[in-house]
């Protein structure tokens, strides 16, 4: 809760939820006051000392993917806020770890309330906010979208460097590559086909992380045979007419309370799942370029082994 101590002004200004959290879990008043004095002292010292690159201490993340890398790479006291998605179990790979971290809704004013010295963002969706924050001389680092396993490595490295935690970054990269090499190697011969079929008939084609996970586990992504780039929609009819060896679904069919997911409840798809191999591969694992993509690759490799042992 140190981050709340650092920003008592913000807590007051933001009122509502933050204030409530502050009152319920925050330390006693005396501690808060002394912390504020400590902060003041630090500021005075920093001003007096010669300019030296300090590691960022109030980091805000505006993107689900940078949220997850930040949480796993930075000590919690240096994280000022992440998006609400980080704690959302339906999209985040690490909802438990994100619990308790303050939430930013991504608007510039809200972000500035945290007085961040580093803002991490993804390449999409927040461009106007990023422009505005940069105009106000805030330090914004945009982490590019990972489209393959090298992209995952690049993302880890980019976040680690931005937050000045190179050692933790290297350790994460090493663990990532070790897990990858420990997985069973794809066998010779024709690769079995697979497709990642999602809400609204969307499939992941080449240039997506799901495609990278399929390749790494020795599958041929059937979506590559369709005229699509990165992602697109495939008529269910085509899937039934020429089904893949393994049908990969992004979640249980009951997970979505949305009409856009009706295709996942279609009787023809149910039938396909009875007659062909299928796998539920939570998209939390491959939505973002984080080390958790290895979990997806691991599950796919197991499925491939099973296919090889008992070919249909």
């Amino acid at each position: 809760m140190g981050l709340v101590v650092v920003g008592p002004n913000r807590a007051r200004k933001r009122g509502g939820k933050t204030l409530q959290r502050w009152l319920t879990v925050g330390p006693r008043k005396g501690v808060r006051v002394s912390a504020r004095l400590g902060l003041l002292l630090a500021v005075v010292l920093a001003a007096a000392a010669p300019a030296r690159a300090e590691p960022p201490r109030r980091i805000v993340s505006l993107d689900l993917c940078t949220d997850q890398l930040l949480i796993e790479l930075a000590p919690p006291e240096r994280i000022a806020a992440v998006t609400h998605l980080a704690a959302d179990a339906s999209v985040s790979a690490i909802p438990q770890k994100a619990k308790g971290i303050p939430i930013t809704h991504g608007a510039a004013e809200d972000v500035l309330g945290y007085d961040p010295d580093l803002i991490l963002a993804g390449p999409f969706g927040v461009s106007s906010t990023v422009t505005l924050l940069r105009r106000l001389n805030r330090n914004v680092v945009i982490v590019p979208l990972a489209q393959d396993l090298d992209g995952v490595r690049a993302s880890i490295r980019a976040v680690a460097i931005a937050i000045d935690e190179p050692t933790r970054g290297e350790a994460m990269l090493k663990a990532f590559d070790q897990r990858l090499t420990s997985l069973s190697r794809p066998h010779d011969g024709a690769a079995p086909t697979a497709i990642v079929y999602q809400v609204g008939g969307i499939v992941s084609a080449s240039g997506s992380l799901a495609d990278a996970a399929l390749s790494a586990s020795g599958f041929h992504n059937l979506a590559r045979d369709y005229p699509l780039s990165r992602s697109g929609q495939v008529p269910l009819e085509l899937l039934v007419a020429s089904p893949p060896d393994l049908l990969v679904l992004a979640a249980a069919r009951t997970a979505y309370r949305t009409t856009a997911a009706d295709n996942l409840r279609h009787p023809a798809l149910d039938n396909l799942r009875r007659t062909h191999a299928s796998l539920e591969l939570p998209w939390q694992l491959w939505l973002c370029g984080t080390p958790h993509i290895v979990d997806a690759i691991e599950r796919l490799s197991t499925a491939r082994e099973r296919l090889r042992a008992a070919p249909r």
Partner: protein, 329 residues
């Protein structure tokens, strides 16, 4: 126009339209990304035919018929050339009703809740429009009232999707705003089909009343037309058919506007005959639009609601220009 010979010609026209519906229906069954024909051989083929193409063709036919018929009935009853379920917010109300049942979780526990939500939304929207514009409001009042109802429905749909924190909210917005027939299942046909049929039955019953109404209100009453019963049949019929249709396909616009206008020159100003003609005409329009989509660009994923809007919007402009003298102050 109402000579026996003309009636005969119009009757033959209606029969011809019915034949075209059958043709388009069969063609729709034969077309798909898996190739021309009634599904490839084997189990996959029969699955494609029965579980994927049949529901698509059936829904295309029923939804098209619903939209054509309700457009024709609304134009006849409101005596307004611009009346149409999607333009005056009835489809929007239906979509809102369906969205609410889905996102409140009622549709999961009770299957029929979805089309019932749709028809309740449609009924409320219809009553709202009529209350705002008045039964004999001019074209402008009606369009304005429809715009208000439709904007309210869109706002509330967006709110429901926002509040649900649905990660697919944007995909689903598109789903409701631009209707589609892709990858629907027989489950959805069973859910909505019977309600659409009942609604269409109610609308067809008002044909005689609409004919009489063309002579004026007083003449209609003297001919034994019950104004209240007619009104009830129109509201209930439109709500049932459009509500159930929209609940499973989203909003497919302009069909109800285009079809009656296209057929009126052939049929004449006889709502009683125009109703069945519009029913078949709507089915033909939606089925052939859906066929065209699959022929032109099976991969472009253009939605049927986009196609009908592409044709409908210029037509609407033309219609506004045509009725401008009437609309001018």
């Amino acid at each position: 126009m109402s000579s026996p010979a003309a009636t005969n010609v119009a009757g033959r026209l209606v029969a011809g339209l019915a034949g075209l519906v059958l043709f388009a229906f069969v063609l729709s069954l034969a077309l798909g990304p898996a190739g021309f024909g009634f599904g490839p051989a084997g189990e996959a083929g029969s699955l494609i035919f029965w579980e994927i193409r049949l529901p698509r063709a059936l829904l295309g036919m029923l939804v098209g018929a619903t939209l054509g018929l309700s457009g024709s009935a609304l134009q006849g009853y409101l005596r307004n050339p611009l009346a149409e379920p999607s333009l005056i917010g009835i489809s929007g109300g239906a979509a809102l009703g369906a969205v609410l049942t889905i996102h409140l979780g009622i549709a999961q526990t009770l299957a029929l809740a979805l089309p019932i939500g749709g028809l309740l939304g449609a009924a409320i929207a219809m009553l709202g429009v009529v209350a705002l514009a008045g039964i004999r409001g001019g074209p402008i009042t009606l369009i304005l009232a429809g715009l208000a109802v439709s904007a309210t429905a869109t706002a509330l749909i967006s709110l429901a999707l926002n509040l649900s924190q649905n990660p697919f909210a944007s995909i689903e917005m598109v789903y409701w705003m631009m209707g589609s027939l892709a990858d629907r299942s027989l489950t959805q046909v069973w859910l909505s089909g019977p309600l659409m049929l009942v609604g269409m039955g109610l609308l067809l019953l008002v044909g005689r009343a609409l004919d009489a109404l063309t002579l004026g209100e007083d003449a209609a009453v003297s001919l034994g037309i019950d104004a209240r019963r007619t009104r009830l049949a129109i509201v209930a019929g439109t709500a049932l058919s459009v509500g159930a249709a929209t609940a499973v396909t989203g909003i497919i616009g302009f069909v109800g506007l285009l079809v009656p206008h296209a057929l009126r020159p052939l049929i004449g100003h006889r709502p009683g005959l125009l109703l069945p003609a519009s029913l078949f005409g709507g089915a033909i329009l939606v089925l052939s639009a859906d066929i065209a989509l699959r022929l032109i660009q099976p991969w472009a994923d253009v939605r049927i609601g986009v196609l009908t809007a592409l044709f409908g919007a210029p037509f609407f402009i033309w219609l506004v220009l045509k009725t401008r003298s009437e609309l001018a102050p």
